[in-house]
Amino acid sequence: MAMEITQFLLNAQSADANVRTEAEGKLRLFQEQNLPSFLLSLSCELSNNEKPIESRRLAGIVLKNSLDAKDATRKENLAKHWVSIDISIKAKIKELLLSTLGSSVLEARHTSAQVIAKVAAIEIPRKEWPELIGSLLSNMTDPNKPAPLKRVTLETLGYVCEEISHHDLVQDEVNSVLTAVVQGMSVGEYGPEVRLAATRALYNALDFAQTNFENEMERNFIMKVVCETAVAKEQEIRQAAFECLVSIASTYYEVLEPYMETIFQLTSNAVKGDEEAVGLQAIEFWSSICDEEIELQEYEGFESVNSTPAHSCFIEKSLPVLVPMLLETLLKQDEDQDQDDTIWNVSMAGGTCLGLVARTVGDRIVSLVMPFVEANILKTDWRAREAATYAFGSILEGPSVEKLTPMVNSGLEFLLNAMKDGNSHVKDTTAWTLSRIFELLHNPSSEFSLISPANLQRILMVLLESTKDAPHIAGKVCSAIYFLAQGYEDDDASSSVLTPYLPDIITCLIATADRPDGNESKLRISAYETLNEVVRSAKLPETAQIITQLLPVVMNKLGQTVEFQIISSDDIEKRGDLQALLCGVLQVIIQKLSSAEETKQVILQAADQIMLLFLKVFSCRSSTVHEEAMLAIGALAYAVGHEFGKYMSEFYKYLEMGLQNFEEYQVCAVSVGVVGDICRALDDKVLPYCDGMMTHLLKDLSSNELHRSVKPAIFSCFGDVALAIGEHFEKYIGYAIPMMQGAAQICAQIDDSDEEMVEYGNQLRRSIFEAYSGILQGFKSAKPDLMTPHATHILQFVELVSKDMRRDEYVTRAAVAVLGDLADAFRSNAKILFKDHSFYNMFLEECLESDDEQLKETAAWTQGMIVAAFSL
């Protein structure tokens, strides 16, 4: 029943597109018409040593893709298809796969190992391939089996362990698998290739080995072997062993104590003397330990002492030796590391780890690092100066503000001078350090303010001057200005010391953005984004004039982009990028100026021209819309309110385009947000556009293509539309409500153990509540009865959510508001409804006792509405 498909597989890789497409079509047809035969044919191809390696390779890949996919729904479907195939055909395929492990062709063996793991992933939890483990283990125990087979068998075991849980096997089997792997790692047992494969297999099997790690004797043995492997003769094996140690650090942190001394020696030697690839893993081990301890420290606040896993303070205990080791790595810089974004070397890893250590131990790091800084900062060798600065910059997060502020205060002038250092690495790291200082320690409203009117002028002089330096340095200087400005953003004061310098800062940032080398090191992006932050943090009304003057400058620049001469697709891309940045600045200016009544006029007066510009930007592209322009239009609609109506006829087609952009889901999401803005701006004047918008929103919801993160926003948007058009929402009810009910059902089925899904579920539920709120309020005065058939469902949904302990405060607030809306809309009829669902009493009680003021207020309102309903 297997078919000869070699030629199709070869043709599917042909350079000739016609040949390729035809062959792909035939293979797809075969797959659709007869999946069992198709899979069998592929495994025959893969296992047949007579066949060309090219067709065998592709057969293996197609086979793998027929069993597994990244997308969870598709993956589930594939598994279902496999399970439903006739058992004798499956047995034949599996037999062929296992036999391929013994093939003389390395690539075929390797591919087969991966396919076997995918079959195992489906079948082992279902107990449908009980003989697999035994069969693989016999390859290992039989001394007559050749080394290549043992190697690929270990590989297979590793992959299988990665796919399944140890609960899927009986403990004896788990033990045997690990014994085989660990034995493979032992010296002298087999050759270095088998040893490497075994070490990598262990890496894949670390989660699987959970029970064995709980047993002290077995753990001791595994750790002993890993540590031995970490000093193997071959670099690749050492690296693989260190990778195991990194993974063990995060998976089995709590049982590491007895091995730390040995591991410290191993990592220390590796950092000092081994190849860079091994050294990097050794540093990574300590970074992972820091991650664990930082997480434990953050966790401590929430959990009682008993349930918290033990914090072993490995970093604190190792400090006196760990810190010098890391400081030493800082001196091993690459010559060109600042120009090349892709470089990752020992000095960068070391600095990163030092930063994590600082976050782990706080103040204690300071006295260990400062002598190094002081000893090196003045040396003639640039490496010493750069390392000293990097060390200083790395420990700025973690220690207390009290400890750091005096240090930074006394070092600030030195750093400002170092922006004129003769070496660009030193300047680069200095600029980065300054930017971190402003990010982490600059807090104008606190008593430890770094910036005084006295030193601000000096700081700005240096920073503005340094924006003229090499792009990689200038970009970091922009970051420094960004964070300097950000410090004043949340400051409640009505005046900022930055104001007198604002014109100079803005001029300088625009000049930086205009630099011909602005696309190097993302300098132009940094300059404009810094400009955004400068505008956001500016205080109105004192800067009203400055920002008002900036508006035509930016509009003019955006206008110029439309006139650009376009020759290549590269030009189009460049223009699009620049338009994005300028639209971003415009958005921030619009939002800023419209936030105060006095300055809102400026936007209202310029609105026609601004809108015209955005429409021109849209017309630069044929099929897609510009996310940033869309974002800015939302801000404009909010600012101009009802007046926005006059732009709708021109703008509407772009809005539709945005709503249909499934591929760039961010664009779609932003467009959905703009629909909400427009609804609030136009109120019932939005009605003529609602049929179109609702159609697209409903299509978006039913699309499998569209990224799921957009869907909650769409439900919230239903609420916006309903609130704007009131009773006219009636005609959409028949479409919208089933979608909302369907989504509510999905929420109920969400896997509790998946944090990301839980969060998504919360977003979804909140948005469904917001939709109901909008609809109930929209109908309330004219047609409250339209929602009567859905009232019970809504209450049941609220009840379900109220009993879910994983709901977040936003869901809770939205849910409690819907209860009030129900009571408000149905008035006396609500009595009957609420009588049957007394859960609301407890739910309200919970909300009323909350510390969240907004929630309390909403709950109080709801309670009032319900009480009112009962008293009618």
């Binding site: 984004e529 955004n532 801000a635 207020e857 309102w861």
Partner: protein, 420 residues
């Protein structure tokens, strides 16, 4: 060597302003959505009960020079937006008149409600100035019954003072109070809005429950301090059964008593005169049972204040108004009186005649125009109560008797049911 996927950003803190712009947009949209929904919620729950009567006389004034004292209220109370905007355009007297109309005015108890012991609360009314206390935007303002400003002061009510953490502009409160001069305390007799939420449409039962649980929480009942100039206090509210009535009538209080207040448990807060809140007095629990003159002397004859209507009719402040007589046009012209004027009359002894509880004849003599500070004519119940006080007062024993007989009646009903 490829950069480490997790660690890489460390030395290159790429500021991602685009994400920040997206996030800020989302936050703005979220806030706008909440505001829009909130706005819709409040429109419904307050406009109905807060809409000022369509009296054109009080809305027509176009002079846009609101007294300074109104600015604050204008900014602060979003939920009362429609009404407050109109109010802000009004000049002094008329503005005061508008505010005066926002209070619930208990009628005087001239007969005893049926289910007094089941459906009513009772409390000892503190003696003092009846006022509206509004906290918003960091200040608290109190206004007398006639709308004039009493105090402007910082308080611990939500948004009642300009100190940190108390500044949500959404959050404002309206309390119905009596200011008791002696201890400079505001006794809260009702709660109209709390922390931005309207309680107009809630029953008295709920309002008192809420009042009791919320007021103490804010620290408003604490002794005065820098951010809290006047103490607020709650009179004890009793169920109007034998024990409750007895306690409110006889128990000593921290304040000077001025009669008893009765609230129907199921009634909403209703502006203007309402028979669902009642006041009753006798000499034991009030110094001011019978109207006195400015020197505190009891008047020989009962005096009433009535409003002059277009056709010369003299009416009470009730809705609908009760007619007490008529002035002839000649007299009106001669005395320079105008429609809407409040006029003081004396009632001759036994001057009011009733048939089946309805006023049949009133023998009244014109005295003068009333004091400018008056905002309303007397209500029918007030005139009646004063009349009864002078002739056949409703006594505390009558109240107790009504409760007892009601209890007996209940028992009879139960017995009958059981007999069935």
């Amino acid at each position: 060597m490829a950069p480490h996927e997790l660690r890489r950003p460390f030395k290159r803190p790429a500021i991602s302003d685009q994400q920040k712009r997206r996030d800020l947009s989302l936050i703005r949209q979220e806030k706008n959505r909440l505001d829009a929904q909130r706005h819709a919620r409040f429109l419904a729950s307050t406009v109905l009960s807060l809409q000022p009567p369509a009296d054109s006389e009080i809305i027509t004034d176009s002079n846009p020079s609101p007294e300074q004292e109104f600015e604050l209220v204008e900014e602060g109370i979003e939920a009362l937006e429609l009404d407050v905007r109109q109010a802000a355009k009004l000049k002094g007297t008329e503005a005061r008149r508008w505010f005066a109309k926002q209070l619930m005015l208990p009628e005087w108890m001239i007969d005893i409600p049926d289910r007094l012991c089941h459906d009513w609360y009772v409390l000892a009314r503190p003696a003092g100035k009846r006022c509206f206390v509004v906290s918003s935007n960091g200040t608290t303002v109190s206004r007398l019954r006639n709308g004039t400003l009493l105090h402007r002061f910082p308080s611990s009510l939500p948004s009642g003072a300009r100190n940190k953490g108390n500044s949500s502009s959404q959050s404002y409160c309206i309390l119905d109070c009596i200011f008791h001069e002696l201890d400079q305390t505001y006794y809260v007799t009702d709660m109209v809005c709390w922390a931005g939420f309207s309680l107009y449409e809630c029953t008295a039962e709920f309002r008192f429950f809420w009042l009791n649980s919320k007021l103490v929480e804010t620290g408003a009942c604490d002794p005065p301090s820098v951010y809290h100039k006047h103490r607020f206090s709650l009179p004890t509210v009793y169920n109007c059964d034998q024990a409750g009535l007895h306690a409110s009538y006889t128990q000593p209080t921290s304040y000077v008593k001025d009669g008893l207040l009765f609230y129907n448990k199921h009634a909403h807060y209703q502006t203007g005169n309402t028979p669902l809140a009642l006041v009753w007095k006798d000499a034991n629990c009030s110094q001011y049972v019978i109207d006195t003159d400015s020197k505190g002397q009891i008047l020989d004859q009962q005096q009433v204040v009535l409003a002059l209507q277009e056709n010369g009719k003299l009416t009470t402040s009730d809705e609908p108004p009760v007619e007490f007589g008529c002035l002839d046009m000649e007299f009106i012209q001669k005395s320079g009186l105008q429609t809407g004027d409040l006029l003081k009359f004396s009632v001759s002894d036994r001057g009011l005649c009733f048939t089946d509880g309805k006023l049949e004849k009133a023998d009244i003599q014109f005295i003068s125009k009333s004091n400018r500070a008056r905002a309303f004519a007397d209500s029918f119940s007030k005139i009646m109560f004063q009349h009864m006080v002078r002739h056949s007062p409703l006594q505390i024993e009558d109240l107790f008797a009504s409760i007892t007989s009601s209890a007996v009646k209940d028992k009879e009903v139960t017995d009958e049911e059981m007999a069935d």
